[in-house]
Every structure is written in structure tokens, then in C-alpha cells.
């Protein structure tokens, strides 16, 4: 084992030695620097390995041959080994990244760089307070030097601000240290910690001064203008170091000194951290310089970490894993992002669209963004999960809200940024050079994120059950992303089919899960089949689609809360990337993501309450929530409803589904929405529905469902865009389902299931076929279509069948749904809501008529004369689904009877009785098979009669009519289906004024305006920043010690 002291000796030795290199040896200096950093990494890595593999004692390094407190000692324990290792790794990779910049500036800069990394090592290891001060100073002087690797006026100003601020801070620290020495007679940190200076009124002042200066080094909001400017102006390579290495070291110093003052100081640290986390992220929302934005985000993350330290009393032994998960994610992601920023060199985050020139870099960018927000499988996901659940277990609601709010705000700007990179036009953007020495470090950081994520998974309670198999498949698809569509499509379908066989025995006997698994997996296969009609490679589509399906199936398989949430987030991530693929999907993908994150946090909060109620990690914990049960139920319902797009939370859906690619729309509409339904069903089955809170919640949800249906159908009727019409129709259908299951009776749930299965089938058909037509005709607008019945007869029949199902017309299964539905409504006695739904059902006919009429009937457009039927790859899955509909319609008992039996134990009264094919309720009976036979016979008879008459028909050519008018200014207005329901719109349009959209828009404006107002404190004056620092000290003093 190489002693840790050699980190210092070798680094300084090399740095001093560089001065000896004459001109001839000058080229050696960069290699000497890399060798030094490599050696430091090796030493700390070797210690880390030692601590991980052997349970050895902490190593203390004595200097000068004397024992502490009489001489300075260093300490190398597992935590020190971890921190020095990550610092040295980023130091080494950073040197690689900055290789050319350092070389250009000469050996002096390399010495400074080497000494900088060394000083951070000592800061971590030292156990002497004054020594800590000295090496903090070494670090800040080195930083002030490295800022000037960028030769700009901005960098000069930032460096000066940095010097002024740290000058004041270090003075305060020094006074604190000398008084700590005066009070305790020692400079050794362990002695100081034991001195209990926080307890006495006279000695507490030293504690205050030390804390305030260490906290200020971590750049707390709002006294951090100087720090943000450094991030903005310095070379991004230096920004990466400050963000990843310096901040980690500073964080560890605070951790080291945590026992100095005693428990009451923890509160202050937590509050400052919380304010920093929220405030800094808030300010990020108005920022569009990449480096500055990263600065805000860095400071926010450090605030979160500070908060975690402050809450360490509450978090107990969980603090380690929480802090580890969040720190390592911040570390790797921020270093990676800064390095990416250095590659692209854009002045505006819009310039990051240039990343698309290299899909791998885009992949890295996505990785970092998702890691920062805390998506699985990254360590921050587990950190946040543990953080929230542990806080819930201790009843810390305010902290939970703070953390989730701050994280959400972080999502606002990170996903806007990611959206820009994925979607904005990148043709005109300047090229950037891709150098291997710059790419390699970024890759390493991404790999760290994935590897550590998998590594920490089993450390989290319940985490060992998480199934990484589907994710491996996703990874595999990434690896073969260069292959053509048909190969990847076949592999994907094969993967899903294989998983069906794999999962069937697991789920056998659990009908609820089996049905949803069927919808997700069968639906997956069928919608993927349509993908054969695409050409080329479809870069990125298959990994993302499979990630969504992995998440969906994970939700089904989940037996613990964390598994469920893990899969839920996975599904969100995958679907986000699918949705944003559409040509004009950027804003819709963005709002989908924001609603999803908000919903996910609501679910997380609810799960945390469930977990904290009985410390039960299994999903069954939802059944015994005794901490704020009503809030928990409501939050969970709201969370799931963000996916079912219920009224108020629906505004992302029309755009997201309408603008998506033709085979993505059915995936996200017919399949993905059902995840929300599944969540709601699980919640409703588990929750204590006899409680007042639950009863009220269900009542409200019933209303929400009814109104969603009305709003959805009305909006659909007024659409001109075929896919948006279908999207609104989905909103409405999900409203039916929400309403039906909110009734909480066997009949209601049967109706809900029938609607779920029906909606899956007909919406998949409709989106497949209409999407195919839209792609074929090149327009979304129905008034630009018409007369397709002759060109696309198979499409017409598919749409017709689906419409019959939606309309609830016998003999198809839609009627079964309606029959059950109205039985349930009447049984429950929700007449008023029922009336709204009934009314909405009539409106549905309007849009259904509009859909089929304006696409297939009427006049064929001139430019569509040569159009052929849509691809067979779209029709085949559609017709498979039609067969499904037919079977479900003719023999509903095979599915509905077992569901009824399954539901029976949950609901006291079994009101639906089956006799063979006949279903009977107190209100009457219905026999699907008989109806099918009767209607089919009648249909065949009529058809035969018509055919018999057809010999007498006379064919009329389409243009056998004379128009006698001028050509109107906007020709589409003469189309019969253009604005076809103008009259209704006049009468009822006020009901669908986009109040909800307006609400969310004004909310977001409020946030942005507030951020814009708040950030005026960063006016740019260095003196003001100095005043902020002193003001921070003063206010902290007045609150902590001045009795304020």
C-alpha cells in the first residue's frame, strides 16, 4: 500500500520539478502532470478498494513524528478514500480534457492544476483545523489562477469577484479558527469536535464563524453571485472541476465539521441548503447561457446536499446512501455536462442542437439530464427515493415538499434544454471538433452513472428485487442501433414475445395483472408490427420503445413500492423520447415531461406515506396507509391521473399524441394511458374505501371523470386535425374509465375493464390507420382529405368497426361497455354525472361522423388521385385487433365472467349474474352472443337485398355536378366538414374555453417572472457580491445568535 502522504509529496515534487524543465524538456511537463494525477488516482483508488474489500480500520497519518493534537495528522478512512478518489479521477480526466489548453498556457498552468487537485486531497484528509484553512486557501488561489485559462475580460472579472469573496470568507474562517483554538486549546479537529463549543454562549461564536465560512465556500443562495460568475466565465473544463471536485471536497468538510456545533446548527444548515436548492434552480429557469445554467444547477445540487447534511439527525444511518446517491450523480453528470459544454461552445442553450450531429453525444447529454433529475437507473433515483421515504417516516412534510418542488423546478430547465437539443434545427449551427481526449472523459462519467446506479440498487430497501433484464435488452438495442429497421423490429417483437412466455407463469392466477400485461405486451407486438412499414434505421426508436415497454411490464410485475416507482419512471423516460420524436413535438414532449415529473413526485410522496405508515416496502403497504391517508390517496390519484390525462392534467395529451409518429401514437394512446388506469385500479383496490377521505375522493374523481368525458368529446368534435381528434377522444374515453371505476362497484369496474379493453383495441386501430393515412396524404387536416373509401377500402372498414365500438352500438363490445356502465350508474345513483356522460356520449357521434365522413366519403381531392391503400404492415395488426373486437363482442362472458369473479371479493354485492352467454342485473339482461347473431343475420340479409338491387343502380361520376360560383378566398371553408359543427360551437363552445391551459400557462409565467425578478440581485457588481457575502454572515448571525 502506498501511503496517502505520497499524494502530497508526489504532486508537489512534480510541480516543483517542472520548473527545472528547460525549453527542451518543456514537452515533458504535460506528461509529468498526467503521471502525477494518475499516481494520485492510483493511491486513493487503492485505498478505496482496500476499504471496500477488507473491513480495515481507518488509517491515520502522523506528520513530524508526533501524535496529534501536537502535530498535524491526516486521516484515510473509507469516506476519505471515496472523496479523494472521485476528486483525483475528475482531476485526471479533467487534465486529459484540458490537455491542449494547459499545454498552450505552459508548464506554469500545469503546476497550478496539479497543486489544485492535491490541495483538495489534503482538504479532505486533514484532521487539523488550521491545516484545513491553509489548503482551502491553496485551492482557492489555484482556482483564481485556473479561471484565467480562458483569456477573456469576463474571466478576469469573474476571477476578481472570486478573489474578493473568498478573501472575506477566509478572513472570517481564520478568526473562527483562532477563537476555536482560544476556547479549546487545540487545533486538532477531533479535539474541537469534542470541545462542545456550541453549548456555551461565549464559545458558540467560534462555531458560528467556522460554519458560516464553510457554508459560504459552498456558495449558498443568494450570496453566491461570485460563484456563478466563475462557472459562467471560466473554461468549462475548470467549471467541471469546481463543480465536481471542489464542491465535493467542500461538502465533505462540512460533513467533517458537522458535530462541531451540536444539533441546533443542523437546522440552519438544512434551511440554508433548502433555500439554495429551490432558489438556485428557480433562477435557472430564466437562464439560457449553458455554463451559467450549469452553475445554477451545480449550486442547487450542492444546496440539496447541504440540506441532507442538515437533516442528518433525521435521516440517521440512511444519510450515507442518500448523500452518496445524490453526490455521485451530481458529480458525474455535472462534470460531463460542463465538458460537453466545452465541446459545443454555444453561447445559448439552443445551440446545443448541434449535438445531433453526433448521436452518441446526444445520448450522453440525455444520460446526464436524467441522472440529475433522479430517474432510474441512476444513483440519484435511489438517493431521492430513500430521502423522501425516510423523511416521510419522520413526518418531515415540509422538507419533502421543498425537495420535490426544487427538483421539479430543476426539471423545468433541464428538459427544456434537452428538448432544444433533440428538436431544434441544427443545420445552420457551427460544427464542433470531436477530439478523443475530450470525448473519453465524458464517456467515463456516463459509464460511472450507470455502473454506480446498478451497484447501489441492492443497497436500497426492496431494491434487490428490481429486474434489470429488460434494461439489458434496451442496452443491447442501443448497441445494434445502426442496423436497419426490419432487423431491430424483429428483435424487439421477439423480445416482447419471449417476455410474454416468461411472465405468463408469474402472473397466472392474477387476472388484473394478466389483463394489463396482455394489453401492454400484445399491444406492443401489434403496434411494433406497423414499424415494418418504415425504412432506414430509425435511430434511437427501438431502445426507447423497449424502455417504455420495460417500464410498463415492470409496473405489472412490481411487488414492492420501489419497483413500481422505478418502472414508472422508466416508462416515463421511454415514452418521453418516443413522443418527442414527432416533427413538431418539442413543446408537447416538454409539457408531457413536466406533467409526468409532477405526477411522479405526487406518487413518490404518496408511496413515501404508505411506506412510512408501517415500514412496509411491498405494494400492499398502500392498503394500510395511516399517515395522512386522504392526502396520500389524493396525491397518488393525481399522480396516476397525469398519465390518464384527466381534466386539468390533460393539456399535454392532444399535442403529444397528435403530433407523434404514426406508430407511436397508438403506443402512447392505446397502451401507455392504461398504465395510469392500472395505477388507479391498484390504488382503489388497496385503499380503505370506507374512510371518509376515500369516499369523498372517489366522489370527486367521479365528477372529474364525467367532466373529462364531456370536455374531451366536445373538443374532439371541434377539431380539424384527424389525429388531435383521436387524441381528444382518448381523453374522453379515459374519463369514462375514471368515472366507471370511481363508482367502486362490481358493475362499475366491469364497465371500466370493458372500456379499458375496448379503448385499447379501437384506439390502436384508429391511430394506426388514421396515422397511416395522415402520413400517406401528408396532411393532418380532415378538410384536405375525402373520398378515400375507394382508395382505401380496408382502412375504411377498420375505422368503421372502431367507430361502432366507440359509439356503443350493438352488436360490438362498445355496447357491452355502455350497458354495464349505465347499469352501474343507476345502481350507484350518480344520476347527474350520469346525465353528463350520456350527453357526452351523444357528442361522440358528432366527431365520429366527422372522422369517417370527411376522410372516406365525399369528394376525392385532385392531388390524391394516385393514392393507394396504406401499408399492409399497418392493416395486419389492425385486422388482428378487429378479430379481437369481434371475439370480445360475441363472447364477452369468457373475459367478463372471470373478471367479475375476481372482483367479487372486493365488492360486497355481486350484482351481475351470468347464465351461459346471458348477463343479468337487477335492471335487465344482455346476451352478447345472441345480439351478435341477430345483428349479423340482419346485416347479411340487408346486404344480400342490396346486392340483388345493385343491377339497377346507375353510377354517377364525381364531377357530374355544376358549380356556379367564384373560387373562395380560403377554399377549405367550402369543404363540407370544415368547421362542420360551427353552430354547436357557438352554443356550447364556452364550455371548452381553454381555462385549464390558461391556468397552467399563467402558473408557468408566474414562476418565470418571479425568477426573473429574483435574479436581479445578480447585477454583476463585484462589490455588491461582497456585500451579499457579508450580509449573509450578518443575517445568519442575527438569526442564529442574535435572538432574531
Amino acid at each position: 500500500m502506498v501511503g496517502p502522504i505520497y499524494i502530497i509529496a508526489v504532486a508537489l515534487g512534480i510541480a516543483f520539478f517542472m520548473g527545472l524543465f528547460g525549453k527542451s524538456l518543456k514537452n515533458l511537463s504535460e506528461w509529468a502532470m498526467l503521471a502525477g494525477l494518475g499516481f494520485m488516482t492510483y493511491v486513493s483508488g487503492q485505498w478505496l478498494l482496500e476499504f471496500m474489500s477488507n473491513n480495515r480500520a481507518v488509517e491515520t497519518i502522523f506528520t513530524a513524528g508526533f501524535k496529534p493534537p501536537y502535530s498535524i495528522n491526516l486521516q484515510m478512512g473509507s469516506i476519505e478514500a471515496f472523496f479523494t478518489f472521485i476528486i483525483n479521477v475528475v482531476g485526471f480526466l479533467g487534465a486529459m480534457y484540458l490537455f491542449k489548453d494547459l499545454k498552450k498556457t505552459g508548464p506554469n498552468a500545469m503546476m497550478v492544476y496539479l497543486v489544485f487537485i492535491m490541495s483538495l486531497n489534503v482538504v479532505v484528509m486533514t484532521r487539523d483545523m488550521f491545516n484545513l484553512f491553509v489548503f482551502l486557501e491553496v485551492g482557492s488561489i489555484a482556482t483564481a489562477g485556473l479561471i484565467l485559462l480562458t483569456k477573456s475580460g469576463e474571466a478576469l472579472q469573474a476571477g476578481m469577484k472570486y478573489l474578493i469573496a473568498t478573501g472575506i470568507i477566509s478572513g472570517v474562517l481564520l478568526i473562527g479558527i483562532i477563537f476555536a483554538y482560544y476556547f479549546s486549546g487545540s487545533l486538532n479537529i477531533d479535539d474541537l469536535l469534542a470541545a462542545n463549543m456550541g453549548a456555551s454562549k461565549t464559545t458558540v461564536i467560534a462555531v458560528f464563524l467556522i460554519y458560516v465560512s464553510i457554508i459560504l465556500e459552498l456558495k449558498p443562495f443568494p450570496a453566491n453571485g461570485w460563484g456563478i460568475d466563475v462557472y459562467t466565465a471560466a473554461n468549462p473544463g475548470i467549471g467541471a472541476l469546481v463543480s465536481a471536485a471542489t464542491a465535493s471536497a467542500g461538502f465533505y468538510v462540512l460533513y467533517k465539521l458537522l458535530p462541531l456545533g451540536g444539533a441546533e446548527w443542523l437546522n440552519y444548515i438544512a434551511v440554508i441548503g433548502g433555500i439554495t436548492f429551490v432558489g438556485s434552480n428557480l433562477m435557472g429557469t430564466k437562464q439560457d447561457r449553458p455554463n451559467r445554467l450549469l452553475g445554477y444547477s451545480s449550486i442547487g445540487q450542492i444546496g440539496l446536499l447541504m440540506m441532507i447534511l442538515g437533516l442528518s439527525d433525521i435521516l440517521g444511518e440512511k444519510m450515507m446512501i442518500i448523500a452518496f446517491g445524490i453526490l455521485i450523480s451530481h458529480y458525474a453528470a455535472k462534470a460531463g455536462l460542463f465538458w460537453l459544454s466545452g465541446l459545443i461552445q454555444a453561447k445559448d442553450i439552443k445551440g446545443w442542437a448541434a449535438l445531433r450531429k453526433s448521436p452518441f453525444l446526444l445520448f450522453l447529454f440525455g444520460t446526464f439530464v436524467f441522472a440529475l433529475i433522479g430517474f432510474p437507473p441512476f444513483p440519484s433515483f435511489f438517493g431521492k427515493w430513500e430521502l423522501i421515504t425516510t423523511l416521510a417516516a419522520n413526518g418531515q412534510w415540509a422538507w419533502m415538499v421543498t425537495i420535490l418542488a426544487g427538483s421539479f423546478i430543476e426539471g423545468i430547465y433541464l428538459f427544456r434544454w434537452l428538448g432544444y437539443a433533440i428538436k431544434l434545427d441544427h443545420e445552420d449551427l457551427p460544427d464542433f471538433k470531436i477530439e478523443w481526449n475530450k470525448i473519453f472523459p465524458i464517456w467515463i462519467m456516463a459509464i460511472v452513472l450507470y455502473a454506480v446506479g446498478v451497484y447501489v440498487t441492492p443497497m436500497v430497501e426492496g431494491g434487490m428485487f428490481i429486474n434489470y433484464l429488460p434494461l439489458m435488452f434496451v442496452l443491447f438495442l442501443f448497441a445494434i442501433d445502426f442496423l436497419p429497421v426490419y432487423i431491430k423490429n424483429t428483435i424487439s417483437i421477439g423480445g416482447i414475445i419471449w417476455y410474454m412466455f416468461h411472465i405468463y407463469p408469474v402472473l397466472e392466477g392474477d387476472l388484473l395483472r394478466l389483463i394489463f400485461a396482455g394489453i401492454f405486451l400484445v399491444g406492443g407486438v401489434l403496434t411494433l408490427m406497423a414499424g415494418y412499414s418504415k425504412k432506414g434505421t430509425r435511430k434511437g426508436f427501438y431502445p426507447m420503445a423497449m424502455m417504455m415497454f420495460a417500464g410498463l411490464i415492470g409496473i405489472i410485475e412490481a411487488s414492492t413500492l420501489i419497483e413500481f416507482f422505478f418502472s414508472w419512471e422508466l416508462m416515463t423516460a421511454g415514452s418521453y423520447f418516443l413522443i418527442i420524436r414527432g416533427k413538431r413535438s418539442m413543446p408537447h414532449g416538454y409539457s408531457y415531461m413536466l406533467f409526468s415529473i409532477g405526477g411522479a413526485y405526487a406518487i413518490l410522496f404518496g408511496f413515501a406515506l404508505a411506506f412510512a405508515s408501517n415500514f412496509d416496502t411491498s405494494l400492499a403497504a398502500l392498503g394500510s396507509i395511516n399517515l395522512l391517508p386522504t392526502l396520500a390517496y389524493t396525491l397518488l390519484a393525481v399522480g396516476f391521473m397525469t398519465k390518464t390525462a384527466s381534466l386539468g392534467l390533460h393539456i399535454w395529451l392532444p399535442g403529444a399524441h397528435g403530433e407523434a409518429e404514426s406508430d407511436v401514437s397508438p403506443m402512447v394512446s392505446a397502451i401507455l394511458l392504461k398504465a395510469g388506469v392500472f395505477g388507479l385500479m391498484i390504488l382503489f383496490l388497496y385503499m380503505d374505501r370506507t374512510s371518509v377521505g376515500a369516499t369523498n375522493l372517489l366522489y370527486v374523481l367521479g365528477w372529474v371523470g364525467a367532466l373529462t368525458t364531456l370536455m374531451g368529446n366536445m373538443s374532439a368534435a371541434f377539431q380539424e386535425d384527424a389525429k388531435r381528434l383521436l387524441a381528444y377522444s382518448s381523453v374522453a374515453q379515459l374519463g369514462y374509465i375514471l368515472f366507471a371505476i370511481s363508482i367502486m362497484s362490481q358493475l362499475g369496474w366491469l364497465a371500466g375493464f370493458t372500456y379499458t379493453i375496448n379503448h385499447f383495441m379501437f384506439k390502436a386501430i384508429l391511430f394506426l390507420v388514421v396515422g397511416g393515412i395522415v402520413a400517406k396524404l401528408g396532411t393532418h387536416y380532415m378538410y384536405e382529405m375525402g373520398g378515400m373509401i375507394k382508395k382505401m377500402p380496408f382502412s375504411f372498414i377498420a375505422v368503421l368497426v372502431s367507430i361502432i365500438v366507440i359509439g356503443g352500438i350493438p352488436p360490438l363490445s362498445g355496447f357491452a361497455g355502455k350497458w354495464l356502465f349505465y347499469n352501474a350508474v343507476i345502481e350507484k345513483g350518480w344520476y347527474f354525472q350520469g346525465a353528463i356522460i350520456f350527453f357526452a356520449g351523444i357528442i361522440a357521434f358528432l366527431y365520429l361522423f366527422k372522422l369517417i365522413h370527411s376522410i372516406f366519403l365525399g369528394q376525392l381531392k385532385d392531388n390524391h388521385r394516385n393514392i393507394k391503400e396504406i401499408s399492409a404492415w399497418i392493416l395486419v395488426p389492425s385486422y388482428i385487433l378487429i378479430i379481437g373486437i369481434m371475439i370480445f363482442s360475441a363472447f364477452p362472458q369468457y373475459i367478463l365472467q372471470p373478471i367479475g369473479d375476481m372482483l367479487a371479493p372486493y365488492f360486497s354485492t355481486e350484482t351481475l349474474v351470468w347464465e351461459g352467454t346471458k348477463a343479468t342485473t337487477s335492471l335487465g339482461y344482455w346476451d352478447g352472443t345472441t345480439i351478435m347473431i341477430v345483428v349479423a343475420t340482419a346485416f347479411l340479409l340487408l346486404l344480400a337485398w342490396l346486392l340483388a338491387l345493385s343491377s339497377k343502380t346507375k353510377k354517377i361520376e364525381q364531377f357530374n355536378i355544376v358549380f356556379a360560383a367564384e373560387r373562395p378566398f380560403r377554399p377549405e371553408t367550402t369543404h363540407v366538414s370544415y368547421n362542420i359543427y360551427a353552430g354547436y360551437k357557438k352554443a356550447l363552445g364556452f364550455l371548452i374555453t381553454p381555462l385549464v391551459t390558461a391556468f397552467w400557462e399563467s402558473m408557468s409565467n408566474l414562476v418565470l417572472e418571479f425568477a426573473n425578478w429574483l435574479r436581479r440581485i445578480y447585477g454583476g457588481s463585484m462589490q455588491n457580491y461582497a456585500i451579499h457575502v457579508v450580509l449573509f454572515i450578518v443575517v445568519f448571525y442575527l438569526i442564529a445568535l442574535g435572538g432574531l
Binding site: I141, Y181, S1021
Partner: protein
């Protein structure tokens, strides 16, 4: 006596801080820093003062009786380090100001506000 010295130290720190926060000329701000640092150093030295004791050099004082005859040597050692650090920072600041002055031909602190928000 030591009370007067330590008060002087605090007064110098306040004076320096006032200079840092209110002066417009960058050179004066740096002067503020040196005054601030001097104040800190004085405070540190007076912390180590022991009433009526001599400097910690064992020429006349015998090692055996040192403990009862000398003032605390530790703060003095620390001050030495602090002075050197202060020197380094001041030198660096001066060079920064030199460069800033070349950038805008001004020493007014308010002419360097390019980075904001």
C-alpha cells in the same frame, strides 16, 4: 493591555471591511484587504498573549521552566502562515487589477459588470 491590542485588531478589521465594501477604486479595495488581514493578524497574536510572559525563545529562559515563562507560540506560528497567505492573495489581486485595468482602462469597480443574471 491585551484588550487594547485586540480591540485595535477588530477596529482594523472593520476599517478594512468598510474599505472593501464601499471604495470604488480597486487598488483601495486591495488596501482594504491588507488592512483587514492586518487586523486579523493582530487579533491572532493577541489571542496567544499570556500576561507578563516573554517571547517563546529559549535563549535566556531555560527549557525546564519554559512553560511558566513564555507566551503561547502557536498563534505566532499561525500568524506567520496567515501573513504569507495574505501576501499571496494580495499579489494575485494586484496582478488581476493590472489586467483589469488594461482591459477597460479603468480602476473603477463599477466598470466591470459584464457578467450578470
Amino acid at each position: 493591555m491585551e484588550y487594547i491590542i485586540i480591540s485595535t485588531g477588530f477596529a482594523l478589521m472593520l476599517l478594512g471591511l468598510w474599505g472593501i465594501l464601499s471604495q470604488k477604486n480597486l487598488i483601495k479595495i486591495i488596501l482594504g484587504f491588507t488592512i483587514f488581514n492586518t487586523g486579523i493578524n493582530i487579533v491572532m497574536v493577541s489571542i496567544g498573549y499570556v500576561r507578563g510572559k516573554a517571547a517563546p525563545i529559549l535563549d535566556v529562559i531555560k527549557p525546564s521552566e519554559a512553560a511558566s515563562k513564555i507566551v503561547d507560540p502557536i498563534p505566532q506560528a499561525l500568524v506567520l502562515t496567515a501573513i504569507v497567505i495574505g501576501l499571496g492573495v494580495t499579489a494575485l489581486m494586484l496582478v488581476y487589477v493590472l489586467k483589469l485595468h488594461r482591459e477597460k482602462n479603468s480602476l473603477d469597480i463599477n466598470s466591470f459588470k459584464d457578467l450578470k443574471w
